[in-house]
C-alpha cells in the first residue's frame, strides 16, 4: 500500500504535480500512463521519497526502479541483483537466486552487466528490485528497450506478482501494454490525474491526453488477453 494526498511538487519554479491524490494497494497491477512531462516519473519519485519535502518510506518495504536505470561499473548481473539486499543488510542468496530466475536472467548471473543487450540489462535491473522482496514496487518504464516478447513476459510477471499480493505501480508509455496487462490505468496529464479506473474505461481519457483521436475500435488487437 502506498499513497500520497494532495501532492504538489514544484521544481526550479515549475509546477510538476498539482494536488495529486493517489493511492495503490496490493492485488492489482496499477499502470501510470500519460504524455511526456505529465508528471508520472515525478509522482513515482515523490512516492519513494527522493524529492525535497517528501517522506522516505522504509527501503525494505518500498523498492524503486528509475527510468533508464544503469550501473556505472561493470558489475556482474548477480552482484547487481544482490544490491537489492542492501536495505536488509544481509547477503541472502535465496532471494537473489529467486529474482534471477523470475526475471529470466539466471543464465547471465556471472556475466558483466555492460556485456548484456539493452533488454537483458533492463531485466537485471528489475531483478534487483525483486531481490529486495518489497511490499511495494515503483517501476519507471521497466519495459523500455525490451522486444515485444520480453515486454509481454515482464508484464505478465508483474501482473502475477501484483495479484499474488504485492503493490506494483508501473509507468508505461506503451498504452497497449497497459491495456493488456494492467488491472488499473491511471492517466496523468500536465501534473494532474485525469482518469483512473479499469484500463478500457480510462482509455478515452488516455487517448485525449496523448492527443490521439480514436476509440476502442482502433485497438481490437489490444483487448485484454
Amino acid at each position: 500500500m502506498i499513497s500520497a494526498a494532495n501532492l504538489s511538487i514544484r521544481l526550479d519554479g515549475r509546477t510538476i504535480l498539482s494536488g495529486v491524490d493517489f493511492s495503490a494497494g496490493p492485488g492489482a497491477l496499477t499502470a501510470l500512463a500519460g504524455p511526456n512531462g505529465a508528471g508520472k516519473s515525478t509522482l513515482l519519485k515523490a512516492l519513494c521519497g527522493i524529492l525535497p519535502g517528501t517522506i522516505r518510506p522504509d527501503p525494505r518495504r518500498v523498492a524503486y526502479l528509475p527510468q533508464g536505470a544503469h550501473a556505472v561499473w561493470g558489475l556482474s548481473v548477480e552482484e547487481i541483483v544482490a544490491l537489492g539486499r542492501i536495505p536488509h543488510g544481509d547477503r541472502a542468496r535465496a532471494p537473489v537466486a529467486r529474482a534471477l530466475a523470475l526475471c529470466g536472467i539466471a543464465e547471465f548471473a556471472a556475466t558483466r552487466i555492460d556485456r548484456l543487450s539493452g533488454g537483458e540489462a533492463r531485466r537485471a535491473m528489475l531483478a534487483r528490485v525483486f531481490a529486495t522482496e518489497p511490499e511495494t514496487m515503483l517501476l519507471d518504464e521497466p519495459t523500455a528497450d525490451l522486444d515485444p516478447a520480453a515486454a509481454f513476459q515482464i508484464m505478465r510477471l508483474l501482473r502475477e506478482t501484483a495479484r499474488a499480493g504485492r503493490t506494483i505501480v508501473v509507468v508505461l508509455h506503451a498504452l497497449d501494454l497497459a491495456l493488456r496487462y494492467a488491472d488499473r490505468l491511471v492517466v496523468m496529464d500536465r501534473g494532474r490525474i485525469v482518469a483512473d479506473g479499469a484500463p478500457l474505461a480510462a482509455l478515452p481519457a488516455a487517448a485525449s491526453a496523448f492527443g490521439l483521436r480514436f476509440g476502442r475500435d482502433d485497438f481490437p488487437h489490444l483487448l485484454p488477453d
Binding site: 522516505r56 556505472v72 558489475l75 547487481i80
Partner: protein
C-alpha cells in the same frame, strides 16, 4: 578473505626484503640501521601506500569515476602547502615534527574547505568541482611560496621534499602519520555498502536506504585523514591511489565495496615495492643519490594510464 591471502603473503615478503635491503656501512651498528633507518622507512611506505590505495578506491567508488584520486580533491595539495609553509618559516629546521604537523593541518583545513565548498548536501559533481578548485588554489599558493623561497638552497630542499619519499624518516614520523591514516582507512573501509549502492546512481542509492550526502562526506573525510597524512609525511607521492584500484578491477571485479580492502593491501605492497626499487636503483644505476619515490611512482603511473586509455578506447 581467501583472495586477500596471497596479497598478505606478498606484503610480508616485501616487508622482510625491505628490512634486509638498503645502504649499510657508515660504521653504524646493525640494530641502528634496522630500527632507526629501515624500519621507519618500511612502516611509512606501508602506511602511506595503504592509505593512498584505500583512498583511491573509496573516491573512485564515491564519485563513480575510475580517474578519481586523492590528488584530485586537492587534499594532497593542501597538505603539501602546509608542509611548505613549515619549511618556509624554518619551523621544520627548528622542530622536526613541525613538517608533518603542518602538513596535517593543511590537509585538515583543505578538507574543511572542500566540504564547505561542496555545500550542505554534496553530490558527486559538486565534490569534484570543489576539489578541482581547492587543488588549483593549493597549487597556486605552493608556487607562490616556492617563488618567495628565501634562498636557492631552501628552494632545492622544498622541491626535493615535494617529489615525495619515505627515506630518512623516524619512528616518531610514523607515530604521527599512523593515527590519521588508520582512522581514515577505518572510515573508508566501512563505506562498502554505500559505495555499492551508488553504482546505481545517487537517487536509487537513496531509495536503498543509503544516506548519500553523508556517504560522500565520509569518503571526503576519510580521504583527507588518510591521504592528507600520507602527503604530510611522505610528500607528493602520486598515482598510487589512481593506479591501485584500476589494477585490481580485472582480478576482484568492479564492485566498489569489494575493492576497498584489496586496494589498501595492494597500495601498501606497491609503495613498498617502489621504495625497494628506489634503493636498488642507486646500487645498479650510475646515480649518486636515490631517485625520489614520487618520481618512480609517476614514471610507473604514466604508462599505466596509457594502458587504461587504450583498453577504454577499444
Amino acid at each position: 578473505m581467501t583472495r586477500t591471502g596471497p596479497m598478505i603473503a606478498l606484503l610480508a615478503s616485501l616487508t622482510i626484503l625491505s628490512l634486509l635491503l638498503g645502504p649499510a656501512g657508515f660504521g653504524l651498528p646493525l640494530p641502528v640501521i634496522l630500527w632507526q633507518l629501515r624500519l621507519p622507512r618500511t612502516l611509512l611506505a606501508l602506511l602511506v601506500g595503504g592509505g593512498l590505495g584505500v583512498s583511491g578506491a573509496a573516491l573512485q567508488g564515491a564519485l563513480r569515476n575510475p580517474l578519481a584520486d586523492p590528488g584530485l580533491l586537492g587534499i594532497s595539495g593542501a597538505a603539501a602547502f602546509g608542509a611548505v609553509i613549515a619549511f618556509y618559516w624554518g619551523l621544520a629546521a627548528a622542530f622536526s615534527p613541525a613538517l608533518p604537523l603542518a602538513g596535517l593541518l593543511g590537509a585538515g583545513l583543505g578538507a574543511a574547505a572542500l566540504l564547505i565548498f561542496a555545500g550542505r548536501a554534496p553530490t558527486g559533481p559538486a565534490l569534484i568541482l570543489a576539489g578541482i578548485g581547492l587543488s588549483a588554489a593549493a597549487a597556486a599558493l605552493l608556487a607562490f611560496a616556492l617563488a618567495l623561497a628565501p634562498n636557492p638552497y631552501a628552494l632545492a630542499e622544498l622541491t626535493f621534499w615535494l617529489l615525495g619519499g619515505v627515506a630518512d624518516r623516524t619512528l616518531s614520523d610514523c607515530a604521527l602519520a599512523a593515527p590519521p591514516i588508520l582512522l581514515g582507512a577505518a572510515i573508508l573501509l566501512r563505506l562498502g555498502p554505500g559505495l555499492d549502492a551508488l553504482t546505481l546512481g545517487e537517487e536509487t542509492a537513496a531509495t536503498l536506504g543509503i544516506p548519500v550526502s553523508s556517504t560522500l562526506r565520509r569518503a571526503a573525510l576519510g580521504t583527507a585523514l588518510a591521504a592528507g597524512a600520507a602527503a604530510a609525511t611522505a610528500g607528493g607521492v602520486g598515482f598510487v591511489g589512481l593506479i591501485v584500484p584500476n589494477l585490481l578491477r580485472s582480478r576482484h571485479g568492479e564492485r566498489p565495496g569489494a575493492l576497498l580492502l584489496p586496494s589498501l593491501l595492494a597500495g601498501a605492497a606497491l609503495l613498498l615495492a617502489a621504495d625497494i626499487l628506489v634503493r636498488l636503483a642507486v646500487l645498479i644505476l650510475p646515480l649518486n643519490a636515490e631517485p625520489p619515490l614520487g618520481v618512480l611512482t609517476a614514471l610507473l603511473g604514466a604508462p599505466f594510464l596509457i594502458v587504461i586509455a587504450r583498453r577504454l578506447g577499444r
